[in-house]
Symmetry: C2
Subunit: 547 residues, 2 copies
């Protein structure tokens, strides 16, 4: 993601934020007079993250801003002069000083699209030296954005559509900017709220949060509560002694629930009261600082009932430790009891927030076990992507001067698919995507209702025949001649795109555990090209046959 | 870590980069007139990361810059006005606008010190509302910095002191700033080099890197090599036809090794030649684009021998796939053969760089298996801390208005140790630290040679008696009244501190697997305070005994 100034102006990733070898390679291209040769790189990842069947593509917006402003300052160039070998021709630094992306074309999958391993997500075409220099920055901007967006989408799937999801991972992210990236892309991936105020400021994400345990433990006695009165919402303008009112309710609640008043923490009650007096319409305390059942829940009910008596609507409670499911059921039961016993209907709509080191697995368990949790807050496991903390996008050369290039590794997984391509998504009669097809750019697109033969990747070399009900072009031109050619999407638009793209995906690919693999295939012509080059029987033979 | 402008000027983490609840709590304190109450928070983590016996404390430098510049702009305050509940008193925003850290004192372990779980690393004292507002930012600045620094130190221990370590994780980090943080703190933790140019620019870390596979695969034939000549280092000013020279050497190398010239990739040879002509003193190609044994190594030797003939010193090779240990041994054998057979002593000092998804475990295996790797490059596993991607630092209230505060959780691990403290590190006669002791701030420090009774944390409640040969105060005042009171350390100084601090640690605590636990203990007085508060028998009882 981009860097941000404290004033909230979005700033680009600087062009020095890349690996040194991009510059030594660029120099060697330049020295050989090859720097202007038209070249094509592809960006893709080799495996869907988290053992899943899909991923979400994100980071494009930042890539476009990066490309648009890609330019070295005098200071950048001076620094490069100090780190590149002394043999570097000074004219190269002049060349760098004048570089920009006016010769670069970016063709990309739209941001927020469901994507699959080994599909080329971005095609970056332009002068060899320039597109080489872009590698690390583009990877850095896409990798984590796509990973954390995919992670958020999985949490969303695990949570089901009803529950609200709150991102609260700032303190566990890779520094301030890592935290901002996390807040932004988890929102795009399906989270509703963030605790990160700066993310709200910069990206307009709704922010949420009320109190921490430290607030509760900072109080010891009711003497610390001030003011000790609250004015009712309507009617009597005289302030009411809310402490006495609450004590009265506490007594009745203890009686109703058969609780021991002696176990109730006075400091906790003081904290709740003090907060309620400050924000009578936003009362949602954390109730497990001492004991939910013996203290926190009773204190909450007493304060909330007092608020109700004065015409306010308390919001709910937060649970931050222990068995959230069981506790939420107990809490809800008490809410219902109070509602019935005291005829306070506001207690029927109180919400329960659960936050306690939630992982994708514990989120999925929420859907299996009986529980009454309305909002789930997720931090560490969401932003650090504990289950797989990197996506592993790569950026590979596929064409130079119109000739396909291929890396033929001894590890077949690490070999690349050569040539400039078109990528199509084939849909079945129900509108579900079932196959992504990579063709040579010169091939005509697949047609609806017409059978085609293709070669699925990752299988043996046998072809399959498929007949799409519909075929759509997966990528679009988004950057040409230094200009962004496609409107930049807002976070809200991309967020909607994520959900609609996920909507079309068949449930069998969306299963979080052991999904059916989605097929990514090469057209017959592309497959033949691979075979030719692999055999070294292509006309572009690059073996040294004699010396 | 701080955010950086593209010009390299260090900018601070903005004060809005925090959780919303800090503001709602600050408001409630302010509303109750408690915002100026003197309060003390402690920052610590509960478990050493990666299953290890120690951690390294980092991020202090950024915390100090953050504290020094902590101030809300009009724009910040306007945004807060839009997200806090409408009931918020407008005077609160005036209060925020005038806030700074002039009332805050930070007492901290020096950056780069070896530290242990449950030791309070930082003590943040000041007006309750202000020190509450600092929580998330301080955690964000310390958490990842300490985690990745500790990770780097473990990689350094696994690699042994001889091998050079190169950080190359930018493309897998949490965005640009995550990448910068990683480069900075892995260098501090013991890495020698980074691939990240911006990190070199901002922090003066030595940068390294030469070529990627894309450079190699971008070449197909020797016709692409230009210029095709090179001038010898000394002597004859006439350019030499380096292609013919190299072909001659290739022929001799193939003969020496019994290799088949027909399997050698011409494009790879062209890439190597082209790079060598550009940087004849910096020749270190990646040799596994096709096949190390059948092509890459032979091409390297031919080009390197030609360079040697012209008086240049080739640097070495990079291996990026397969069994690095075995390959490095094979490569070294060939280098020695060439050295002997062609009497080229420069081949005795060629270096071998290994980079292939290196984890701490594969690094440790390097030291067990025979290998000839001189430099190891680490990316993903280093910067994402795959083994444990978050440290889990927390920030807990321990004192308000001079009275100890304690969170008594039903989960004993989550209970806090109350009161303002001094922390001492006790050393044995050999100068090894063996116990960190937390005392009440009012207690006199432990004395060398004098036996003391203390209560180790995490054990049952039995005391132990220890006699330190030496006792040092672990923390120092680093920020008082808005000013940094201790000289800010440079990265180089902190890096040296890490190694010297690790040096004193006994090997039994440094073992990467199953280390002996280091003892962290409470003084008898502090232990008594905990017991008193826990029993509710303290004078500061906070149970609601009557209602």
């Amino acid at each position: 993601m981009a860097l941000y100034s404290s004033s909230g102006v979005i700033r680009r990733a600087p062009p020095l934020l890349t690996d040194l070898y991009q510059f030594t390679m660029a120099y060697a291209y330049w020295r050989a007079g090859r720097h202007q040769e038209p070249a094509v790189f592809e960006l893709f990842f080799r495996d869907n993250p988290f053992g899943g069947g899909f991923s979400l593509f994100a980071g494009l917006h930042d890539c476009l801003l990066f490309l648009r402003s890609f330019r070295f300052t005098d200071e950048d160039v001076e620094f490069l002069r100090s780190v590149l070998p002394p043999a570097t021709d000074p004219a190269f630094f002049q060349f760098l000083r004048g570089l920009d992306c006016s010769g670069v074309t970016l063709r990309s999958v739209p941001e927020g699209t469901v994507v699959f391993a080994r599909v080329p997500l971005m095609e970056v075409a332009g002068p060899l030296a320039v597109v080489q220099l872009l590698e690390t920055s583009l990877l850095c901007l896409v990798n984590y954005a796509s990973l954390v967006c995919s992670n958020a989408a999985r949490f969303r799937l695990a949570a089901g559509p009803r529950r609200k999801l709150l991102e609260m991972g700032l303190r566990r992210a890779q520094g301030p900017d890592g935290g901002l990236t996390a807040s932004r892309y988890t929102h795009i991936g399906g989270f509703d709220l963030t605790s990160n105020v700066q993310a709200g400021f910069l990206f307009g994400i709704p922010v949420a949060g009320t109190m921490a345990h430290s607030y509760v433990t900072s109080f010891t006695s009711l003497e610390e509560v001030w003011p000790q009165t609250l004015v009712a919402v309507s009617g009597d303008p005289d302030p009411v002694d809310i402490i006495s009112l609450t004590k009265g309710w506490l007594s009745r609640v203890c009686e109703l629930l058969g609780a021991e008043p002696g176990k109730i923490r006075e400091g906790e009650l003081a904290a709740f009261l003090s907060y309620a007096i400050s924000y009578p319409q936003n009362f949602l305390p954390v109730i497990d600082s001492y004991s939910v059942g013996c203290s926190g829940l009773l204190n909450f009910c007493a304060v909330a009932l007092a608020l109700c008596e004065l015409g306010y609507r308390p919001v709910g409670v937060r649970l931050d430790s222990g068995d959230l499911c069981r506790q939420s059921v107990d809490v809800r039961r008490v809410f219902r009891l109070c509602s019935e016993h005291f005829s306070i209907s506001a207690f029927d709509s109180l919400i329960i927030v659960g936050t306690n080191n939630i992982s994708e697995q514990s989120m999925a368990e929420l859907n299996k076990k009986e529980n009454q949790i309305d909002v789930v807050g997720v931090g560490t496991h969401l932003v650090t992507c504990t289950k797989q903390p990197s996506l592993g996008c790569v950026y590979k050369l596929v064409e130079v001067r119109g000739r396909p290039r291929m890396k033929i590794s001894e590890d077949p997984q690490k070999s690349t698919v050569p040539g400039r391509k078109s990528v199509y998504r084939l849909l079945d009669a129900d509108g579900h995507p079932f196959l992504d097809l990579a063709c040579l750019a010169v091939e005509s697109p697949p047609e609806a209702g017409v059978s085609l033969r293709c070669f699925p990747l990752g299988c043996d070399d046998s072809p399959v025949s498929v007949t799409p009900a519909q075929a759509t072009c997966l990528r679009q031109d988004v950057f040409t001649k230094g200009q962004v050619t496609h409107p930049l999407c807002s976070a809200a638009e991309t967020r909607a795109k994520v959900q609609s793209s996920l909507q079309t995906l068949h449930p069998r690919h969306k299963r979080l555990q052991e999904p059916d693999p989605y097929i990514v295939a090469l057209s017959e012509k592309l497959h033949n090209l691979v075979t030719e080059i692999r055999k070294g029987s292509s006309n572009n033979s690059n073996f040294l046959l004699a010396n």
